[in-house]
């Protein structure tokens, strides 16, 4: 072993690769051994490494919303338990104790070197059902208790001994118990790989060298983030937008941001945003931080490894008792998906005033969550899908069409897999022509997706941008609003709200049309060609 650990440009790059490959390998393991289509097909999960102070070192993320919210889970678990022993695994989903919304189940386990605890590995996966008042666990709720099973940080495994009772309890609360078991097993398998690989590099390089480089990588990402912020002109920038209702009322819920940029540091203050609401769109502050960090990460010129260092130069302030920092047990089911998207819209909107030649117009600004529960011949079916839409146009590009934007990047379930598994049919899945906002550069088009139900079903829509369109920038027109429609078997057609739950009969149809992206720039004499 060397006496003195040195970190240089070369060893930094070497360790960057080492840490990243561990997180990546955990992700591969989780995906391949998981059970639910949501994880295997849609990749709704992330894996990460943390130092022993719960600071994130490396992450393999498929979904930006997990970016800043994983650290909250690990920090809470570490604070909550006096200590971790080798072979322990903590599990949690409580949004008020390190989680985001209940379907996201996070697991945390320690990694020991020869001299004791050195690192943590963590995984988060969106489980398709954790109970609650509607299938898919994204209900139009008014308190957390309605959203499903609340798991405070508990030890699922202690010193290698499984707490079967905890596992049974979790599984018993899901509408798809077998799937939960398979997916939790898969997360454990990922942890096993992460622990082994970290221990390998501790043996190879020595714990001190590994820790020194973990710190160096955090510093590295901090420097890169500071450079990104320094490139934004100093000043104060404001922006405001709103959600369209909380599933209980349709009154608008404002979200305001004031960004102060000063040199290499920025403060992002959400003062002025709405107080917490009765419905399910409240977002815990971990989500607000994720969305804010995501926006800054977009601006980085180089490929920056996502870790604790990315967060340090950015101060995020969320007013107490507000939509963006609610008190337990406020409902939060879709704060993660819908409110998260709107936070991106306001932060980018404010930044567009500082960087008018870089920031694009608003993208669809929703994930168009659609959950379906059916019982046919005693068999339970739970189906969850999110639908892509139009991207905002930018100062030199058209927005892309029919894709997920910003805080999510999940894949769709293939129609041929869907109809094989569930008693429903997809009648159309196509782009919505001319739904992108006009401008010098066009916003991308949304999607039109039509389902037909072959058995009675309970369906829930959790969507946004049905009345307030995605904004255009610099004279560009807004994108078209989305629309949710139910067509009954007898032909009765009803346009329903952005957040809505309905009981359907066999032969009923649902059409979801997703928003287009905002346009950029005035349509000038030189008409742009798409």
């Amino acid at each position: 072993m060397s006496d003195k650990i040195t970190v240089d440009a070369i060893s930094l790059e070497v360790f960057k690769n080492l840490f990243a490959s561990i997180a990546e390998e955990m992700g591969v393991t989780l995906r391949r051994s998981s059970f639910s289509p949501n994880i295997r097909e849609r990749l709704d999960f992330s894996c990460a490494l943390f130092d022993k102070d719960a600071r994130m070192v490396a992450q393999a993320a498929h979904i930006p919303v997990h970016l800043g919210s994983m650290p909250a889970s690990v920090a809470y678990a570490v604070r909550h338990f006096e200590g971790f022993l080798q072979g322990d695994v903590a599990i949690l989903n409580d949004p008020y104790r390190g989680g985001t919304h209940l379907p996201d189940i996070t697991m945390v386990s320690p990694v020991f070197g020869p001299d004791g605890l050195e690192f943590f590995v963590a995984s988060r996966a969106h489980h398709a059902d954790v109970g609650g008042m509607s299938p898919g666990s994204l209900p139009l709720s008014t308190e957390l208790y309605q959203e499903g099973l609340i798991i405070p940080p508990v030890k699922l495994r202690m010193s290698g001994w499984f707490n079967d009772g905890v596992l049974d309890l979790i599984v018993a609360n899901s509408r798809a118990p077998q799937e939960r078991l398979g997916d939790i097993e898969a997360q454990l398998a990922a942890h096993r790989i992460g622990e082994l690989r970290l221990q390998d590099i501790i043996i190879e390089y020595g714990a001190e060298a590994v820790k020194a480089h973990a710190q160096a990588l955090i510093d590295y990402s901090r420097r890169m983030t500071e450079a990104t912020i320094a490139a934004i002109p100093d000043g104060t920038y404001r922006f405001e937008d709103a959600l369209e209702g909380d599933g209980q009322t349709e009154s608008e819920i404002p979200i305001c941001v004031t960004i102060k940029v000063s040199g290499e540091h920025m403060t992002v203050d959400f003062e002025g945003s709405a107080p917490q609401v009765a419905g399910n769109v409240n977002a815990v502050s971990a989500i607000v931080r994720s969305a804010t960090w995501y926006c800054i990460r977009l601006l980085a010129e180089d490929d920056v490894p996502v870790n604790h260092g990315c967060f340090e130069p950015i101060e995020v302030i969320t007013p107490e008792h507000s939509l963006l920092n609610p008190d337990f047990p406020a409902a939060v089911a879709v704060g993660n998906t819908e409110t998260g998207q709107r936070i991106v819209d306001v932060v980018l909107g404010a930044l567009s005033k500082a960087l008018p030649d870089r920031i694009p117009a608003a993208s669809q600004g929703t994930m168009n969550n659609f959950t379906v529960g059916m019982v046919v011949n005693g068999q339970q079916y739970v189906y969850y899908e999110t639908i892509g839409g139009g991207h905002g146009a930018g100062p030199s590009w058209h927005g892309i069409s029919g894709r997920h934007s910003h805080m999510t990047n999940t894949l769709n379930t293939p129609v041929e897999a869907l109809e094989f598994t569930y008693p429903l049919r997809v009648r159309a899945y196509e782009l919505r022509d001319k739904s992108g906002g006009k401008g010098r550069f066009f916003g991308g088009d949304g999607i039109r997706r039509e389902y037909e139900f072959l058995a009675p079903a309970t369906v829930t829509f959790n969507s946004e941008r049905r009345t307030r369109p995605p904004y255009g920038l610099n004279g560009g027109k807004p994108g078209a609003c989305g629309q949710n429609t139910i067509i009954r078997a007898d032909g009765t057609t009803e346009t329903v709200g952005a957040k809505y739950t309905a009981r359907l009969q066999s032969g009923d149809r649902v059409i979801i049309e997703t928003p287009g992206g905002g346009g950029w720039g005035k349509t000038s004499s030189r008409k742009s060609k798409r």
């Binding site: 240089d8 070369i10 790059e13 398979g182 029919g402 769709n412």
Partner: protein, 668 residues
């Protein structure tokens, strides 16, 4: 005479085999029409009439380049009503997570030529809505006006019932629009579920089929009719020129396949069955693993477009001799994926390159001999590289030599990561594998990379630069058949599958006969892909024909356990696809080992030299090394198209096949 021809961007390589001798020929490629260099080369080897040619196996990048450069055929796509945008929506995701302006790959078919026709099947293949011929005719009217060269057809659930897709092809023929081969049906090309991947694959097929067809025809016309022309596929097998017209897209990722097949063949001959291959060129590195037999994967992509068919499991990364090194804003030394390519290339090539590359670092460390580089044809511009390296070193606060060593170290960690993906991540322990290195830069990096994974041994083939051409000579004919099953594994369904399999076998025998493969040279492998009900991905289980249901299910549980660490024995098991791989073993060149006589390699020793980092290196000429030579590192071995670097702590041995066998003394 049997010939393997590999066409690269710069050189076209030939390896030919006649009466027990192997010879090599190299000539400049003719990128405008790659067949020119090939035919000229063949005439040089076999005489103007080419009458002595019995077999020509060819690796082509024609399809690959047509896709990458979007120079394929003008095509149209026909889908089920409501799904005409299947290629545009894809899987709804974007390829970059953090991008202000995420972009999509340029489409192969403009939206105006994507049509949807009223028709619908359910998931069992039963007709819900018959094909609307009137509406189809309208579409065909439009297609007729557009003068397309090929049509791709992808209807929902056509893999369960191809009737509607076939009816569309029939109608196109009846109307005299196109010939049958110009209509690519998804139920022929890829009879499997997942509509986007199937549509993408069949669109790519239609896109390259006319071009590949013309290209292969041009070559076939020039060859005598008695000569078999075979083309390399991405799975490492070859197919006849006539089959290529049905499976053109299968050649699209065949670039690295031939080298991998050759590396494994040579290693096996030398006595090593478990190998990892490392093919490092100018812009990228390909790695693959063989645990006794090649490993395959079910899908890949080209330019972010998914391609679904079985192909060699090759991991490609952007690290090569031309990879550019730079210090990023956070102070880390980055190498690649940007590359200086062949033009302008590294600074030391003196062709106007101004950015430091991996090759420049190797040159500064004295690992590219200025006098012997490319046989001495190309003088190395060391001074210019040295100057740039000193600038980088100053920013890093180290010496130029340390900076150069750093570039190599970072390039190696990138390669290490790729090697881990094919080995450790898939449950293979690298300590039980031999690393076979080739390509222009592979032998320079092989030992360092092997040591980082504790691989005990490196094998450098005699001609690492023409391995792809050699691979074409030893590749077998490979055909693949698949049928969807999509139902639980029961006694009844297993019986049905047996009938399906017998039918596929009949087809396979017919096809192999047409390929000229005698009965005793035919091999078959039956595979059933299964999953637990509710899972999204299936696992392949080898299916010997007589197996009963209980054995099939148990074999799946075991495979699941081996792959993922757990089995769920109380769950229902679903059969997804039934596959048959048919192999036609082709006659291989017989290579006999030369007699081995212990020697020190002193006859091949050029001189001793001191590298800029103070390392004493012995320099050898590969041409003069004879079987039985043993000598220790550190050493450099020069040959025409590559250099092998043997670090301290390694020893070298030349075996009877004149392979260099390098062993890590600490691991041995």
């Amino acid at each position: 005479m049997h010939v393997g021809v590999d066409i690269g961007g710069t050189f076209t390589d030939f390896v030919f085999h006649e009466n027990g001798t192997l010879r090599i020929h190299k000539r400049s490629s003719t990128p405008q029409n790659p067949a020119l260099a090939m035919l000229e080369g063949l005439r040089t080897l076999a005489g103007e009439t080419l009458q002595t040619l019995q077999q020509v196996s060819h690796g082509s990048t024609v399809a690959t380049n047509a896709i990458l450069e979007r120079k394929g055929a003008k095509i149209a796509l026909i889908t089920t009503q409501g799904f005409r945008d299947v290629l545009f929506i894809g899987r709804q995701n974007r390829s970059q997570l953090y991008a202000l302006n995420p972009q999509l790959p340029a489409p192969l078919v403009p939206r105006e030529r994507c049509y949807d026709v009223p028709e619908r099947l359910d998931f069992r293949g039963e007709v819900l809505q018959p094909l609307d011929i009137k509406a189809l005719d309208k579409i065909l009217d439009d297609i007729a006006k557009q003068k397309v060269e090929a049509v791709a057809v992808c209807l929902l659930f056509s893999y369960m019932n191809p009737a509607h897709e076939q009816a569309i092809r029939d109608r196109i023929r009846e109307r005299g629009l196109l010939e049958d081969w110009q209509v690519a049906l998804s139920s022929d090309v890829l009879p499997e579920f997942r509509e986007y991947e199937r549509a993408s694959t069949v669109a790519l097929e239609a896109y390259v089929r006319p071009i590949m067809g013309r290209y292969v025809q041009q070559i076939a016309d020039a060859l005598p009719s008695s000569c078999h022309l075979r083309i390399m596929k991405s799975d490492g097998g070859v197919i006849s020129a006539s089959t290529v017209r049905q499976q053109a897209v299968q050649t699209a990722l065949s670039g690295p396949a031939a080298g991998v097949i050759a590396a494994h063949y040579l290693a096996r001959l030398a006595g090593y069955d478990n190998v990892v291959t490392l093919d490092m060129g100018g812009t990228s590195t390909d790695v693959a693993l063989f645990a006794g037999r090649p490993t395959h994967r079910p899908e890949s992509q080209i330019d972010n477009l998914p391609l679904r068919f079985r192909l060699l499991d090759i991991e490609t990364i952007g690290a090569g001799g031309g990879s550019i090194a730079r210090l990023d804003a956070g102070g880390a030394l980055r190498v690649g994926p940007e590359s200086a390519g062949a033009d302008p290339g590294p600074i030391v090539y003196g062709r106007g390159g101004e950015q430091l590359t991996v090759s420049d670092a190797n040159a500064i460390l004295g690992r590219l001999d200025p006098e012997h580089f490319l046989g001495g044809e190309m003088p190395l511009q060391l001074d210019a590289a040295q100057k740039q390296m000193e600038q980088l070193a100053e920013q890093m606060g180290v010496t130029a030599v340390q900076a150069a060593a750093g570039i190599i170290e970072v390039a190696n960690i990138n390669i290490n990561r790729a090697l881990r993906r094919v080995s450790v991540s898939r449950g293979h322990d690298p300590r039980h594998f031999t690393l076979v290195a080739f390509g222009g830069a592979g032998p320079l990096h092989a030992c360092d990379v092997a040591r980082s994974l504790r691989m005990p041994r490196v094998l450098i083939p005699r001609y690492p630069g023409v391995l792809c051409a050699f691979g074409l000579l030893v590749a077998d004919i490979a055909l693949e058949y698949s049928r969807p099953v999509m139902r639980p594994v029961t006694i009844a369904s297993v019986a049905e599958m047996r009938v399906m399999m017998a039918d596929m076998m009949r087809h396979a025998h017919d096809d192999l006969k047409r390929e000229g493969v005698p009965k005793e040279q035919r091999r078959f492998r039956a595979i059933l892909e299964m999953r637990y009900k509710g899972q999204a991905y299936e696992l392949p289980v080898s299916l010997s024909f007589g197996k009963i249901k209980a054995q099939v299910v148990e074999a799946f549980h075991e495979t699941h356990e081996r792959t993922y660490g757990h089995a769920l024995r109380d769950r229902e098991v679903e059969a997804v696809n039934l596959r048959l791989q048919a192999i036609g073993i082709i006659e291989k060149p017989s290579i006999e080992p030369a007699p081995v006589q212990d020697n020190s390699g002193a006859d091949a020793l050029l001189r001793l030299s001191t590298a800029p980092n103070g390392q004493r290196l012995a320099l050898y000429d590969r041409e003069l090394l004879v079987p039985g030579a043993r000598f220790p590192g550190p050493a450099l071995i020069f040959q025409l198209d590559c250099t092998t670097y043997i670090p301290e702590g390694w020893k070298a041995y030349v075996d009877g096949y004149r392979n260099l066998i390098l062993e890590d003394i600490a691991q041995a």
